[in-house]
């Protein structure tokens, strides 16, 4: 059986086991969250870069070339030496602001000393000092100085409860990334855009829509924000003002329950979309938020005519359950 060398220790890999599960089983704390190759929290570096390609999906070319890979996506077939990423891929940031956007969503502002390059709508991995890592989408624009995240409170959630309850303003955290393809690409200013988000799925869209407008997008931009109830919506005033200022922006809010008043539609998000946009051929679509909804919506949008290559989706996958630790 192959073994993994980490910091002078050897861990034997069980058949079919990933690097991440093997290290966690051996009691080595490796930051991780989704265990599905999506959040990039489990970034590690291998001694040799051979055979890593399958575990490098979504990584920047510069990281691939240096032998970085996602530990949850690699099932090693031969011996491997690995290390946690060093300062070269992590940026220190200070939490500079915490502000409630509604009952459950917190706006988190972060300031880095070193420049942190990203496109509005990408996501980063927020790593606490103890190694706890979770992904959050960027709602800010690169020229705004502070980074902005929207974090929904998950009852019992390790990261979100920490941010909501302990209000760790002034604390230092680490940022890894950015990652993801949900961002505005200039060059087709007249292309119709469809932005659909549920809950904090609005975060990346809030960045993308403002980025598109700032870059002079002239084609129609439809922003649909859905929540379970109207109280789950947020930034409604800001978005209404934006829509007043830019006639090509249409902003639609919907709640699954208790909607139907104050400009909030009642019902399923995809029905709201269909009622206004029965044909979606030629659109570019961004879909973000709850994984089940993202998957069903992207299929519906595809069937309504959006080209499969023109759908950009970020499913906010939750963290996977921990494996039982059995140190060898």
């Amino acid at each position: 059986m192959p073994s993994i060398t980490f910091d002078g220790r050897d861990c034997e890999v069980l058949p079919g086991e990933t690097v991440l599960d093997c290290l966690l089983r051996s009691g080595i704390a490796v930051p991780h969250s989704c265990k599905a190759g999506a959040c990039q929290s489990c970034l590690m570096k291998a001694g040799s870069a051979a055979g890593l390609a399958d575990a490098q999906a979504g990584l920047k070319d510069t990281l691939r070339a240096q032998g970085y890979f996602l530990a949850c996506s690699l099932r090693p077939l031969e011996d491997l030496a690995v290390a946690l990423p060093g300062g070269e891929v992590r940026t220190a940031a200070r939490i500079t602001g915490l502000e409630a956007l509604n009952e459950t969503v917190l706006r988190v502002r972060l300031r880095t000393e070193e420049p942190f390059a990203y496109f509005a709508g990408q996501y980063l991995s927020l790593v606490r000092e103890d190694g706890l890592a979770r992904s959050y989408s960027l709602a800010s624009l690169p020229n705004e100085g502070d980074l902005e995240l929207h974090v929904r409170r998950i009852p019992g959630g390790a990261m979100s409860e920490w941010l909501h309850r302990e209000a760790p303003e002034g604390n230092t955290v680490w940022l890894q990334g950015p990652a993801g393809n949900c961002f505005y690409v200039p060059g087709k200013p007249e292309e119709p855009l469809l932005l659909v988000g549920t809950g904090t799925g609005l975060a990346p869209l809030y960045g993308i829509v403002r980025d598109a407008l700032a870059q002079g997008h002239t084609g129609p931009i439809w922003l649909f924000h859905g929540a379970l109830t109207p109280s789950g919506l947020y930034l409604t005033q800001e978005l209404q003002q934006l829509a007043e200022r830019y006639p090509n922006l249409r902003y639609v809010r919907a709640a699954l329950r208790d909607g139907g008043a104050d400009g909030v539609e009642n019902g399923e998000l995809d029905a709201c979309i269909r009622a206004r946009l029965p044909k979606l051929a030629g659109f570019k679509a961004y879909v973000c938020g709850d994984p089940a909804l993202v998957n069903s919506l992207r299929k519906k949008l595809f069937l309504a005519g959006v080209a499969s290559k023109a759908i950009y989706a970020d499913a906010f996958l939750p963290s996977a359950l921990p494996v039982a630790s059995a140190c060898t």
Partner: protein, 126 residues
């Protein structure tokens, strides 16, 4: 000196660009056809679109590295859920109507259908 080599089926169809043009049309037909759509209810769209593309490339006579064993493994879970000859026929039919929609001449459609047909035993795990 100038030996005439007739272009391959893949080239006659238009190569990778033809696959790109066909993949969305074909996949949309599959997802909206009640006879087969339920097999695709709970799949990840990205991965599925990539698979459809690989399938079309193969059926178009293009470069692929599918083996019969891959086909068997890749469809075993669907056979367990009841995938049968009727479903296979539907897929071939949808493939044909996709190509017709793209104005591919009938003789070429027949060649594509024949390649698809050659995978029947492996796909149905017989």
């Amino acid at each position: 000196m100038s030996e005439h080599v007739s272009p391959s089926l893949y080239d006659q169809l238009g190569g990778a660009a033809a696959v790109d043009a066909a993949v969305d049309i074909f996949y949309r037909k599959v997802l909206s056809d009640d006879r087969v759509s339920h097999f695709f209810d709970d799949v990840d769209m990205d991965r599925q679109a990539a698979k459809q593309k690989a399938f079309l490339t193969m059926a178009f006579g293009g470069p692929h590295n599918y083996t019969g064993a891959d086909m068997r493994r890749g469809h075993a879970h669907l056979v367990a859920r009841g995938l049968n000859d009727g479903h296979f026929d539907t897929i071939v039919e949808l493939l044909g109507s996709t190509l017709a929609e793209l104005n591919v001449p009938q003789p070429l459609i027949a060649q594509v259908a024949a390649i698809a047909e050659s995978t029947r035993a492996d796909v149905l795990n017989r």
